[in-house]
Each structure stands twice: as C-alpha cells, then as structure tokens.
C-alpha cells in the first residue's frame, strides 16, 4: 500500500526530491539562506545574459546607425517584441516590476515560469533596436520568476516564497547595475514594501551573490566612475533648485507615460502596430537627438565625463526628447523598464540645471556638470520610483559617489517628497493602487484579503416563510439565539427577505395580533445582500452604509447564511495575529 503522506514526493521531478527532503530538515532561516543563494546566482546569470545581449545588439547596430532606414529599427524591434510576447510565448504580462509586486501582493509570490525569459527576449528586441527603456524591469521579473518557481518546487510556504521572489528581484538589480546595496534597497523598498530583519538576510545574500556572478563574468566595473568633486555650500544650496527641477522632470515623465499608455490603445488598436508606430516615432526622435535612443548609458557617461556637447538649449531639448522617447516606447507597448531612462533624464536635467545656473549667475563658481548630473540621476530615479533609498544607494554605487552622499541624499529625498505631492504613487504602484491590487503586509486590506465570505458564513439560522403567523414566529424566536431570521418562499425556497427582532417588537406584547399578523407583512424586503464572490472590503462598506450588524449571503436567489460584523471582526483579529506571528 502507498505510504501515507507520500504525495509530495511523487509529484516533483526525481532530481528535485533529494535536495528538497534534505532541505526540509534544516532550520527555516538556513533553508531560506540556501535557496536565496541559489536564486541569487541564477538571477545573476539572467542579468549577465541581458547585458551581453544588449552589448551584442549595440555593437551590431552601431555600424548601421548612419543608414536612412535606421529610424525603422526601433519600430521593427518594438513590433517584434510585442509579437514575440503575445503570439510566440503568449505572455501578455504587464510591466515586469509591477507584475512582480502584483504577484507578491495578491498571489502569494506565484509567477509563471515563462516570465523568467520572455521579458528578457522582449526587452532585447526593444532596447537592442534603439527603443528608449531600461533593462532592469525584465531582469527583475526574470529573477522573481526564477525565485518563485524554485520556491514552489521546493515546497516553501507562501511567506517564504514571497521572500525568495524578493531575493530574485534584488539579485537581478544588483547584478545588472553591479550594485549590491541598491539591490537590497530596491527589493525591500519598492518590491516587498517592508524592511524587516527576517527579509534582510536572504535578500542581502542573494544580492551579493548576484553581483558576484556579474563581476566574475563581466568584471568589477563601476559604470559611471567620476572624478573627485569640490563641493561648496553654494552647491549644496543649489541642490534645492535641482530637487525641484528633477521632481518636475519625473512628474512630466510619469504623466506623459500614463497618458500615452491609456490613449494609445484607442488611437491604434492592433498592439504590434501600436508598438511599431511608437518605435518609429522614437527612431525619428533619435535622428534629431541620438541621446534619446536605447538605454542611454553612453549619454550618462558623457555627462559624468563632462563631455556632453555644450549649450543650455541642447541639454533642455535632450531632456524633453528622452522623456518623450521613453513615454512612446513604454506607452506603446515596448518591453522594458523606467530605471535606466530615469537615470538618463536625471543626468541631462542636472546638466541643464548647471548650465542654467551659469547663465543666470555667471559671477559665481559652481561645481561641474558631472556633479549635477549625478544628483539629477538620484533625483529623477527617486521621484519616478518613489523610492529615495534606492535612488541614493544606486547613485553612490554606480558612480562610486560616496563623496557626494550628502548632496545625493538631499536631492533624492526632496525630489521624491515634492513629486509625491503631484504623483503620489510610483510608476510601479500607480496601476496596482488604482485597481486595489496593492496589499502591503499587515495592512487592513491585506488582512481582509485573506478572509472569504464562506469562511465567515453562519448557517445556524432558523428559516421562516412569508405565510407564517406571528404566533409561530414568536415560538421560533424563543428557541433561536439570533436577532435575524431569513424568510424563504415556501414553494421554491427563494430568499425573499429578513425579519429582525425590531420588526416584531411592536406586536410582541399584544397577543391579540398573534394570529392576524403574517410574516410577509412585517418582513424587510428591501435588503442589501452579499454574494459569495464579494470581497471583504465591499462587505465592510455595506455594513457601514446600511448600519446593519448582519447581512444575508444569497446566491442564485438562495439563502446561504448570515455574515455578522462580530464574526468578521473576530476572524480579522485572528488573521492579524497569524500574520504578526509570521
């Protein structure tokens, strides 16, 4: 006979059974650390693959940039990316980071396996051909998917799976930017949304290992290394103005992206054509302002190296061109992230600001363009992501800019605060919040999302019928411990109303009415009802609206039971305690 409880072992691949069995014997924290290490290494490889692919496509296409048909490259790339995602791999997922946050928030960290590579291929097609986007969103979902699927195969519980998805995201960001601390900050701040000690250790391990893989295969390079700055108090004061300007840049970027995203489907319904047109326009912009194309790292290097072509107006045009190109690429359906474009827009905003300061106050001595370029990167990234810690660590790591930490922190925090006033949610969270899909741990919405109507259903109700006389009703009330009695049609069993004790109170002390008053005369027909599919926040809203303490649950005209406020609050407290215990 089959060994009881042997089900789990029979379901997975034999190759996975042995490590899983051994793993299950370990302490939970040690389990997580081991899995985090594996996921970190795998996500690191995914990021390296992405980087190599981008380098190859850049090398391949650079020689062809001069041809008349070069502007068509982004159009073809974006159309191919959409075709690949929708028709070949059949993964019409949303923005990579948003999908990872959605899965953590609503789906216990479950992400499809195909997402571990589909977004990378889609992004290579989009960015490699010149589209204006970043590689970080695809690698984040790739890392998240790797983590999610490994966690599922190893039968980790939901909370552990969520942590491992965070590990994958952290390792991917750390590897793609060669910035381990940024990976940790990003995973905790933007993805998981909570800084807890239990999260930090596995995420830190994954992040470090992801970075090490990247360093081992691509070398330990600081992408935007800069010279030492001589920063005066005047420059620090100037940071305030730059924070305002970077906040404005990020708000324009987010609003334009949102506008094109929402309108492009109306303007051009076919997705591939929409992406192609968006890509074509980007190609056109690229003809006039080449800095707007691709992920834009060469542009940042020229800013940090103080080699950006002179001219205040040119810098301003470059900022607007990059914002427009990014909004067109991503808003029309191209695959990629907003991280890298934010860095480019920020660096150009910094240059524009510095040149503006020189033009306005030529008698004063200002720090160089590269200083303001770095600060601009921190400001726009922090604002667009609404994640100032990520912005601070990213700039200090990718530019080796620990000497400007104070200025970076100042611009990041101020810019994020200012932009929050106009755009309260990050590009990753806005769509989820709009749909009510962002449920952060231990929040009211999260606790309620774990409860279902059927869990709260109270079935021990005495059912009465419309033709019953008050005398019978009083007898039932004597034996019932509830204040509410559902009324069902005696012929077809359909729910027709409810009786509350208050409805019969006026007649209770007049026995003369016992045989003359019928249930149908005193019952409440105009009732708010609940269906089993209703979600708890809606139900709470109904309780508040109606002032009721109990509401009937009805499905297909049949009474299923009652939900009471007291039971709901009792379950809420238990669920909250369970989540706190985790």
């Amino acid at each position: 006979m089959e060994k009881r409880g042997g089900r789990d072992a029979s379901m997975s691949l034999p190759i996975l059974s042995l490590p899983r069995r051994s793993l299950l014997k370990l302490d939970e924290r040690l389990q997580l650390i081991i899995v985090a290490a594996v996921v970190g290494i795998a996500a690191g490889y995914a990021s390296v693959l992405m980087n190599l692919g981008l380098e190859f496509s850049e090398h391949f296409l650079t020689s062809m940039r001069g041809y008349w048909y070069a502007p068509l490259f982004p159009a073809c790339g974006a159309a191919c990316a959409v075709f690949f995602m929708r028709n070949v791999i059949k993964d019409p997922g949303r923005h990579g980071v948003t999908e990872v946050i959605y899965s953590i928030s609503k789906r216990g960290g479950l992400i499809r396996l195909r997402s571990s590579f589909s977004h990378i291929v889609g992004c290579l097609l989009t960015l490699g051909s010149g589209g204006s986007a970043g590689p970080e969103a695809p690698v984040v979902i790739s890392g998240g998917s790797i983590g999610s699927n490994i966690a599922s195969k190893l039968y980790l519980n939901e909370r552990q799976r969520v942590q491992i998805v965070g590990c994958g995201a952290a390792a991917a960001i750390a590897a793609i930017f060669n910035a381990p601390v940024t990976g940790i900050a990003f995973a905790l701040e933007a993805v998981l949304g909570e800084w807890t000690a239990i999260n930090v250790v596995p995420i830190a391990i994954a992040s470090v290992l992801g970075t090490e893989v990247s360093r081992a295969l691509e070398g330990n390079q600081i992408p935007f290394l800069h010279r030492t700055f001589h920063v005066t108090n005047l420059d620090l004061m100037a940071c305030l103005g730059l924070a305002v300007l970077t906040a404005i840049s990020s708000v324009i970027l987010l609003r334009l992206l949102s506008y094109i995203n929402s309108k492009s489907a109306e303007w051009v319904p076919p997705r591939w054509l929409r992406a192609a047109l968006g890509g074509g326009l980007v190609g056109g912009i690229g003809l006039l302002v080449p800095y707007a194309l691709g992920e834009g790292y060469p542009c940042i290097r020229s800013v940090i190296g103080a080699q950006f072509p002179p001219g205040l107006i040119l810098a301003g045009i470059a900022v607007l061109a990059k914002i427009l190109a990014t909004a067109l690429t991503l808003g029309s359906g191209g695959i990629g992230g907003i991280f890298a474009p934010s860095l480019v827009i920020g660096s150009l905003t910094g240059v524009f600001y510095q040149r503006g300061l020189i033009a306005l106050l030529p008698q004063l001595s200002w720090a160089g363009e590269s200083y303001f370029g770095l600060l601009g990167m921190a400001g726009v990234t922090s604002s667009a992501l609404q994640a100032p810690m990520t912005g601070i660590f990213l700039i200090t790591e990718i530019a080796g800019g620990y000497d400007v930490l104070i200025s970076v922190a100042l611009v990041s925090v101020l810019s994020a605060t200012l932009s929050h006033y106009f755009e309260p949610f990050s590009v990753y969270h806005a769509e989820l919040i709009k749909r009510g899909d962002l449920l952060r741990p231990r929040t009211d919405a999260r606790v309620l999302s774990e409860l279902t109507v059927m869990e709260l259903l109270e079935k021990d109700c005495h059912v009465v019928h419309p033709e019953m006389r008050l005398r019978e009703l009083v007898r039932i009330i004597e034996t019932s411990h509830r204040n509410y009695l559902p009324v069902e049609d005696s012929r077809d069993g359909r729910f027709v109303g409810m009786i509350h004790l208050d409805n019969i109170r006026p007649y209770l002390f007049d026995p003369g009415l016992y045989d003359t008053v019928l249930v149908e005369e005193i019952m409440n027909r105009d009732l708010d009802t609940i269906t089993p599919e209703d979600e708890l926040p809606e139900i709470l809203h109904k309780f508040d609206e109606t002032g009721s303490w109990s509401l009937p649950v009805v499905q297909g005209g049949r009474f299923l039971g009652l939900i009471s406020k007291a039971t709901l609050l009792d379950h809420y407290r238990k669920e909250l305690m369970a989540q706190e215990a985790e």
Partner: protein
C-alpha cells in the same frame, strides 16, 4: 466557492453539449453552476504552488454577443441554478485571474490544443496541469451529452483513490444513483483492498449499501475495461502511486479514454475533501 462547479463556456454546438453535461452534473448533485464566458484568449489560475495558464482556441469566442443569451436559455431550460463568473483580478489587462476555490471544474478533453488533437482519448497538457494542481476534481465529459445512471469509482487502493472513493460516496448521496466499485487487482488479493477500505471506515457502508464491486483479477487492463458499464460517471484518482499514476498520465490513460465512452471525474493529487 464551495458547492460550485466552474464551466468555461464555448459558444458552439460542441460547447453546448459540454455545457449540458455540466448542467446535468449540477442538477444531479445540487451544485451551483458558475459560468465563465471568456473575453480574452488566455486566463490564469493561481493554484497553491503553480500558476496554470490556459490558452483558449478561437472557437471559444464564436458569436460572443450571443454567448450569454445561450447560457441563460440552457440554464432556464434545465431549471438549474447558475450565475456568471466575473474575474476580479488581472495579472495583465488581457490576462484575467480566475478563482480556484470551486468544488468542481469542467474541462474539455483538450481545452486549448489544436483541433487535430481533439479526439476521443486525448487530454491536453493544460487540462493535465489543472488536474495536477487543482484542489477540486475535474469533470471531463464526453463530447456528446450523455446522462449517467450510476457512479463508478475506479479504486486502486492508494491514498488518492481513497479520496476518489469518498468523493464517489458523496456524489452517490447527493444524486441518489447507485454506486459501483471497479478494481484492477494488480496481483493483489481482494482482502488487501478490503483492508484499506476498512482502515478508512468505508467497508461496512459499501457492503450494507449494496455497492457492486467489479473486481478484475485476470487480463490486461484494456481488456477488463470492456466490463465497465457505459452509463456511469467514472470517478478516478490521478497521480497516485502505482497503476493509475502510470495509467492516467501515460499512454494507457489515452487508451482508457479512447475505450471508455463515459463521463469522467478526475481527482488530482491536491484535491481537498470538503
């Protein structure tokens, strides 16, 4: 949602037959039918450990404007209790998440594969994926509407088959039709299976309830299937140890489907009894 059967409606004559099978199942068991009229070519089901993506063929979108009306007419004609499923969560704007907390789900033998593969005896990979991950049993009806007059539980002795047996007993109680056990002995004596039933406290009920037990000791599996009545709803476990694990997801399962013209209710490894 407990006591509900999920049906993904295909607005074609073939889809109508399958839908009528679901209606009949609900009517016999008193379940509430939840009907999904798909608006997108894919949907996701987030099970406890895996996300199953189901790709629907174009036939599911035939006459989209009449689908709702057809469902309502069929439900009314059958006098069944039904309502529509409206997806609330979306992984992407064109990728709805379908709830997974139903008691049963109806699947075509191949829900989303090429029509060339859609023949008797073929279970598509996505249907297998649903069976593998779902906490509910999966109803795989015959392509033509067929009422069942009894419940036939394929009992092989494993944990999952015991679950299937309990489900069969529950269905028998709900529907009031007779139940029958079918066992392919696999070189083990009948007492071995009786001990398992005794261990699970169902043997006495089976004996006193007059449940017929078709116990096949000789012959190849394909040959003994000949004795299985064709008017029964087969309830079988999948992914257990031993025979059915090999049978259901190997070539033999294809043969079983090809040879048996019965409606089937498959209990997967993650099935949770109510």
């Amino acid at each position: 949602m407990k006591n509900q059967l999920l049906h993904v409606f295909e607005n074609t004559p073939f889809g109508r037959e399958i839908f009528m099978q679901s209606l009949y199942f609900c009517k016999m068991t008193g379940l509430h039918l939840k009907v999904l009229i798909p608006n997108h070519p894919q949907f996701l089901m987030y099970f406890s450990r895996e996300v199953v993506t189901t790709n629907l063929p174009k036939s599911f979108f035939t006459g989209a404007e009449t689908a709702r009306e057809h469902v309502e007419n069929l439900v009314q004609a059958a006098g069944a209790d039904a309502s529509f499923v409206e997806p609330k969560g979306y992984t992407a704007s064109t990728l709805p998440d379908i709830p997974v907390d139903f008691s049963f789900m109806t699947c075509l033998r191949a829900m989303s594969d090429l029509s060339s593969k859609l023949h008797l005896g073929y279970i598509g990979p996505e249907v297998r994926n649903i069976i593998k991950n779902a906490e509910f049993p999966t109803l795989i009806p015959t392509p033509i509407y067929k009422e069942w007059k009894r419940i036939i539980v394929f009992f092989g002795g494993s944990q999952n088959k015991v679950k299937a047996l309990r489900l069969g007993i529950r269905l028998q109680l709900l529907s009031g039709v007779p139940m029958m056990l079918f066992t392919y002995a696999e070189k083990k004596p009948k007492t071995y299976y009786e001990e398992i039933l005794e261990e699970h406290n169902v043997l006495s009920g089976i004996k006193s309830g007059g449940v017929e037990w078709l116990f096949a000791e000789k012959g190849h599996f394909k040959e003994v299937l000949y004795d299985v009545p064709t008017d029964g709803l087969i309830v079988a476990g999948a992914y257990g140890h031993g025979l059915i694990k090999e049978v259901l997801f190997g070539d033999l399962m294809e043969e079983m489907h090809a040879l048996l013209p019965n409606n089937m209710l498959i209990v997967g490894p993650h099935y949770k009894e109510d």
